[in-house]
């Protein structure tokens, strides 16, 4: 693989910087190791590129200590894209046959049509083979926060948007983990398959922040642009909820910005606007919020490659919420919900924003 000027430039910028973004990285904060800091990983990738360090499994594994959350980029004087560059470094390692983690760990089979939330949707007559308005949950939603899918269907039914249905495409994994892990050849095949499956839809409402980011920004790079209108569930619900009668939910509710939503999809305002419509009091802002949010560790395939580190990052977000005296933590990313629930345990209730909206509509506030 040839070295592109952008890749080289990004690596060089980091390598000669004294790691001023160190404090922003959730991974280096969790592991407390300099070699997993943005500087450490980028320098290492450059050393590999320059032939100063031999690429082996141990070295390549360090490249997987990145969430791709772009917190460091937010802080960088040069807006250096550390996450995408490290993901590119992973792909280069894979292309050279160095795969510290086997491919099988990043491949997720199609979700069964006969069990779990997809079967429930079928029972509720909200399943069509190829609907015009498709609800796409994403693999992480089906696995980690299946209740969110049921809540979305219930809520949209109440709001008179029954045209939004689950379809055959809803069972597919969009391939985020494959892409993030650097298995680009396999990811390209998945992307083409998902592109075909979504071809009949006019609008795709996406629950997973990772999936939406991938469909909007990465699929076109792999020659598989999605023709349908891609919207996040918070954007979709915002218009539906405008005239709805709700019983506002009480309590001290904090909002956690998903890094994909806030930084990569620039969706900071819609989730807050929705919460303001269904909450008695304004949502509590965490110390790190909006574009400066802290990643919960649930992305970048870190839960697969370094589960303990990933959990530590989630604990840090829970601590931020507890520090603000929150009784409940809400987020609009299903990856975050699954991750934060696991880290919070009994200390804090973690729910998806859709669940909260559903409660307000049903008068369970």
């Amino acid at each position: 693989m040839t070295t592109t000027p952008t890749y080289d430039k990004a690596l060089t910028l980091c390598t000669f910087c004294p790691s001023l973004c160190l404090h922003t990285c959730p991974v280096s904060n969790a592991e407390a190791r300099d070699s997993v800091s943005p500087w450490g990983k980028m320098s290492l990738a450059r050393h590999v590129e320059q032939g100063l360090v031999k690429l082996d499994d141990e070295v390549a594994a360090l490249l997987y200590k990145c969430l791709g959350c772009q917190a460091c980029q937010q802080f960088c004087a040069h807006d250096n894209p550390v996450g995408p560059t490290l993901f590119e470094a992973r792909a280069r390692a894979v292309a050279r046959g160095v795969t510290p983690f086997p491919l099988e760990r990043f491949v997720h089979a199609d979700w069964s049509a006969d069990e779990g939330p997809i079967a429930q949707a079928r029972d509720a007559e909200r399943f069509e083979t190829a609907p015009a308005f498709l609800l796409l949950p994403g693999h992480q939603t089906l696995r980690g926060a299946p209740d969110t899918l049921a809540d979305t269907l219930a809520l949209t039914e109440r709001l008179g948007a029954e045209e939004l249905c689950v379809g055959e495409a809803s069972r597919l994994d969009v391939g985020y983990d494959l892409w993030a892990a650097g298995f680009h050849k396999e990811f390209a095949a998945v992307a083409r398959r998902v592109q075909q499956a979504l071809a009949a839809s006019r609008q795709v409402v996406v629950l997973s922040a990772e999936a939406l980011f991938l469909l909007r920004h990465i699929y076109p790079q792999f020659g598989a642009p999605i023709a349908a209108d891609l919207v996040h569930v918070s954007e979709y619900l915002l218009s539906l909820m405008s005239g709805a009668v709700v019983e506002r939910v009480r309590g001290r509710v904090a909002y956690h910005d998903s890094c994909h939503l806030a930084r990569q999809l620039n969706l900071v305002a819609p989730p807050r606007e929705l919460l303001r419509r269904v909450l008695e009091d304004a949502p509590v802002e965490l110390a790190a919020n909006g574009a400066n949010t802290v990643c919960c560790g649930g992305t970048g395939c870190l839960p697969i490659t370094s589960p303990a580190t990933s959990r530590e990052a989630a604990v840090a977000v829970i601590e931020l919420a507890l520090e603000r005296g929150a009784e409940r933590l809400v987020t609009f990313s299903t990856e975050c919900v699954a991750q934060l629930r696991d880290a919070a345990g009994d200390r804090l209730e973690v729910t998806h924003g859709v669940t909260l909206c559903n409660q307000a509509i049903r008068g369970e506030g």
Binding site: F16, P18, S28, D34, H47, N80
Partner: protein
């Protein structure tokens, strides 16, 4: 009248039990001094620990610098130990994968940089001004902004430290991001002038060797120089480093060499990011050339060394000053800018100002007045914190007593 002299022979014997005889050098003045004075060269961390434990038992004063004339008088009957680091120069590890080098603190900066240069690497510290000083001395010096790394601070270059406390206990900081572990252990010792502990080992970041490009300009007065810098920052240039300086009085040859004249007495140094980031070098040069006069110092000649006293001679305080104060100072000084003014790390907020020691005259007094205004007051919270720390870590006043 006769004076009774206590011969410190017993102390020397005790020291010989801790370190080999060849690592102890009695000072000539020891015979006449009441407590005795020795230069001691520990070769290992254990020896250093034992020396400090012995010092605690004997209430000795342990200095990490050369002897000074007033020491004997200050210490009275207390024995004095002057530690030398020349036997603690071992390189523990050069880890390119982690991007770090771990070395003992006695290594001279030149030796450290030469060793790294063989592998194509360097540290974040300037390679020239400190070359004869030991790493420990550099880390303990409170001159970070002026003689330290040109970009970022010393703290960013130091990944972890091994420290022996005044009571002889030791600790090693973990390689951890500041945010992850609460208060930064390393910061207690960096720039502390050896008041709280002795750094015996340090892990530093290393970088691939690369060439820096520094552009030099002359200005007729401080106001013009500051205005050019301020407008460049507002225009979004933000180079890696910007400095403004006037040569020290005894550096007339350097002044001539760099191209400064009576009409252009102020030097402005601008270091662009380079080809990889920030604005292109040609664009930065074009901008500053339109505001100031481009100078061409000889290639490879170190401007700082040629124009300013060396780091060890730079004992003047360094303070952070805001733009409004800098501009007011420049207006007041007009064309009478004193020699030895050094303003570094200019940013949107201001810069770090210092004036070389011994400069006389009313313009120098005006600069010194501004610097003194920013110095912490003798009974202010900063002094209270330092005193409390010193009392806690060194209750018997063993290490570098004032």
């Amino acid at each position: 009248m006769t004076t009774s002299i206590v011969r410190p022979v017993g102390y020397l014997d005790e020291l010989r039990r801790i370190v080999p005889t060849e690592q102890i050098e009695p000072h000539a003045t020891a015979e006449g001094a009441r407590g005795g004075s020795w230069a001691v060269e520990p070769a290992t961390q254990d020896e250093l620990v034992d020396v400090l434990k012995w010092a605690n038992e004997r209430h000795a004063a342990v200095y990490t610098r050369h002897p000074r004339p007033g020491d004997a008088e200050r210490c009275g009957a207390r024995p004095r130990i002057y530690l030398r680091g020349r036997r603690m120069q071992r390189v523990g590890d050069v880890d390119i994968v982690s991007g770090t080098v771990t070395v003992q603190s006695g290594i001279a900066m030149k030796d450290l940089h030469d060793m790294l240069a063989e592998r194509g690497f360097t540290t974040g510290f300037p390679t020239r001004p400190w070359r004869q000083e030991s790493l420990g001395a550099v880390l303990a010096a409170a001159l970070d902004s002026h003689w330290g790394p040109r970009y970022g601070a010393m703290e960013e270059q130091v990944v972890s430290l091994g420290v022996v406390f005044p009571d002889g206990t030791s600790a090693r900081s973990r390689t951890a991001p500041r945010k992850a572990v609460g208060p930064d252990f390393d910061r207690l010792f960096l720039g502390s002038r050896g008041r709280f502990g002795i750094v015996y080992q340090a892990t530093l970041r290393i970088y691939p060797s690369a060439q820096r490009e520094v552009l030099s300009y002359g200005a007729p007065d401080l106001a013009t120089a500051l205005e050019a810098v301020r407008t460049s920052l507002e225009a979004g240039f933000e180079p890696r480093a910007i400095e403004i300086m006037t040569p020290a009085p005894d550096r007339s040859w350097g002044r001539k060499r760099v191209g400064l004249t009576d009409e252009l007495p102020i030097l402005v140094l601008v270091e662009p990011w380079g080809a990889e980031g920030g604005r292109p070098i040609a664009m930065v040069d074009q901008y500053f050339s339109s505001q100031l006069t481009r100078l061409e110092p000889p290639v490879g000649w170190d401007v700082h060394e040629g124009l300013l006293p060396p780091p060890r001679a730079w004992t003047a305080p360094v303070v952070g000053v805001r733009w409004s104060e800098l501009m007011a100072l420049a207006r007041e000084l007009g064309h009478d800018v004193p020699p030895g003014v050094w303003l570094v790390r200019l940013s949107r907020h201001g810069g770090f100002l210092s004036l070389a020691s011994g400069i006389q005259g009313s313009p120098a007094d005006r600069v010194r007045f501004l610097i003194n205004q920013h110095l912490p007051t003798a009974n202010g919270p900063w002094h209270v914190i330092l005193k409390t720390l010193k009392d806690q870590l060194d209750p018997r006043g063993i290490l570098n007593p004032d």
